[in-house]
Point group: C2
Chain length 197, copies 2
Amino acid sequence: MSSIGPEIERLIQLLAKLPGLGPRSARRAALALLKKREALLEPLASALGEAAAAIKTCAVCGNLDTASPCALCRDPRRDARLLCVVEDVADLWALERAAVFRGRYHVLGGALSALDGITPERLNVAALLARARDVDEVILAVNATVEGQTTAHYLMDALAACGVKVTRLAHGVPVGGELDYLDEGTLSAAFKARRAP
Amino acid sequence: MSSIGPEIERLIQLLAKLPGLGPRSARRAALALLKKREALLEPLASALGEAAAAIKTCAVCGNLDTASPCALCRDPRRDARLLCVVEDVADLWALERAAVFRGRYHVLGGALSALDGITPERLNVAALLARARDVDEVILAVNATVEGQTTAHYLMDALAACGVKVTRLAHGVPVGGELDYLDEGTLSAAFKARRAP
């Protein structure tokens, strides 16, 4: 569009590449940035610059941090004998928000997918098998999707050779969830895994 | 959260201030940026920096551009005798995408709102009244909201003294719109303004 200068056009195109923003919301975001220059545009530009310079991938677990090994891998209060395997850094953040786990993590960087050509060699699997030799328990916290479950089955086979205890997250009714809105697979899993209160 | 470093935390907080992004989608956006460093993070950082340095508000019409007066105000092919009044730069962009208008613009910077304390003095109204003396027609392309219509009525009164022709956008059925989904106000306006084909 001729009426928008190339600088604004480029900003909109880059913002539209962010997940959750389409062309329309990217325009709104660009406009909000240009209107709040001191409060938003300049701080965001410097925050992005700092992140680009400082953030690296942890060589041990695959987490994102300013240092490698990351703060989680260096923390002596975390149990190094427990290893939680996640697909993505976002899953690691979600578990940390739940504050349910005090061991170490291992980020796979995705899930196996024959369709997308994601083989075990393209994931962070070899390092996991090496780390698994020094731990008591590997918790497979992969997504409950077809790809996640395929990955879990593959890892269970591969980890069997290490002789390490392997566990998986429980399936069941989400806390706060209403039965009426749940799919049959979840209900069936919750029913089969029923427990005495 | 202790597991996310302050650099990433600050990036997420700033992204969450963009319209259309909440805390959850800001986390996803930050993660996408950190994963695609060369393709997304660094270009966006430099685009923001360039925009912060280059983009200014046009002193004539209130548009955003690298120069003041802006490209639209400088364009000799645009009819300087037609002035289209919009609330916001986003509205100017929308009209330019429709490529329906070849005159000049005037950005008010908002709409009158007694509740929010937006008085005519806080809008770009005085400059509009000055510019209106040199044009043949002022088109009030304000939003069809209560605030927009209040602003239009105020401007019609104020512009009456200039003796300039004042017009407003037509109300009616949006192109592609289904009658069943339209509100009564729109249907009533479209019915009253019906025309021979």
